[in-house]
């Protein structure tokens, strides 16, 4: 009876985003702006019962600062949904955030200038 050949392939997202948010209303965009940088606070353990998306964000943020947009892109979620999960983590005190990228250190001026020149020649 089963002829798998008849079955069309289904490619839509399997778990819909409103299930991931649990139907909660989304946080305002200005709370965690697209380019706000987030990272994991030191010595934290993941919250109990964290879903796969939260765990993915957790591992992603463990390595250093990433912008909200990057986090959303990497875990493959709409930014608003990623923002809600990040807000949760932030409210639980798991996240450090800053509006400014971390400053580079131990770099001598000459190298910086060369890199800058290179970038400028690349961009325009």
């Amino acid at each position: 009876m089963t002829r798998p050949g008849e079955e069309a392939s289904v490619t839509s997202e399997f778990v819909r985003s409103y299930v991931i948010t649990g139907g909660r209303s989304l946080p305002a965009a200005d709370d965690l702006a697209l380019h706000t940088l987030v990272t994991l606070a030191p010595e934290r353990t993941p919250p109990l019962g964290a879903g796969p998306e939260v765990m993915a964000i957790w591992q992603l943020c463990a390595g250093g600062y990433l912008s909200v947009a990057e986090v959303a892109g990497h875990v493959g979620l709409p930014v608003g949904v990623a923002r809600l999960l990040l807000t949760d983590l932030s409210e639980q005190g798991h996240l450090l955030r800053r509006a400014e990228p971390p400053r580079a250190q131990n770099v001598d001026r000459a190298t910086l200038e060369k890199v800058l020149n290179g970038l400028q020649s690349l961009i325009g």
């Binding site: 289904v10 839509s12 819909r16 991931i20 250093g64 990497h74 450090l96 800053r98 770099v107 890199v115």
Partner: protein, 403 residues
Amino acid sequence: MTSLTTDPLLWILLVVLVAAVVAVMRARRTNMALRRTRKDLEAGLGQARGDVGQLHTHIAALTAQHQRDLADVRADAEASTKAVLKSAMGTLQSLAEEQQVLLDSLLRKYGDTTDVLADLMTVDHTGSQFGRRAKGISVLCGGWLGRREGAATVYDVARSAQGRIKDFDRVSVHSQVNVSLVGKAVEPVAVVLAELLDNATTYSAPGTPVEVNIQTVPTGVCYIVDDAGLGMDQETKDRAAALLSVDGPVDITGLGDPPRFGFAVCGMLAARYGFAVSVGSVSPYGGVRAVIRVPESLLSADTPAPAAGALDDQDAAAPEAAPQRLAPVPVVGPSHVVGTTSGGLPKRRRRSGSVTVVPAPDTAGQEGAAEPASEVTASRIGAFARGTQLGRTTQTTEGPDNQ
């Protein structure tokens, strides 16, 4: 003697005798005629009875024939109804799928616009319910669900099912099990679980929780759905058990008006894909407990990635996210490969510890030959470019290290 012959009395007696004889003769004749008639009639009656008997047999035969024809016609009508419905539902299914794919891209596109995103999610929710209905009817008509490529974790299957019902926010999923279902079982189990969840939320008071617990058993994995409703009466239980144990086509016209497809869909899919569904036991909350038991043969050893594209920071491995390299530009001495973007997202190596953007001299030297080293350099420079640009444009409204 003369006196005798002349005696009128004698003559009278004689006449009477003759008359009597004649009367007797006539009566006898009439009697005979009547007997004959009666015999004829009896024979006729017997024949008529025989005819009636024959007619009865004939009628019985005709009735049986009629019943058979009627059943055939019904089966034909059912089959053609199903064929029409199957094809119509197939169209609706693919439209629903198309809509969901479209919504996936819209959700990403308007991801940063909170209001639009929330509205799109509402539309998505309605669409998912619509898709589930179409799939259910299609299955009953012998149609197909559509096949998911790749395995999905039991937890994701439960959440996918959750998303296909109206009151999904009343459902909570608890899983300590880290196994996956094989691709072909993913949709069927999700559809069946969605039907059970729909029953559970529909037949329990609004606001009461519905729980899905996922447990391993020696023969596979069980989804246990508990609601806090009033439970089922015996008639409903019997009906459910009959529909769940169905083996073969389901009579869709016998499902009532409005039709109750749920259990029929469950029974059909369970039989087709080889898992078991049972309802009728009592949940700890006094409602119904429904159980799907997925056998080991439908479980997969593969553990899919937690989320699409997640954790591919170490990647070159993710093919669709392969960095798009720009033309080499001279930076220090020999040329460097600079800048990696994919879909507009800057792609870079994660930095750990202190931030270093200066490539080690030897790395720069062997850059042309050593691909990983050049990638590291490229991603570092990309990150640096991004950082400096952000540093110049960002309106700093929050202090550093806001926790």
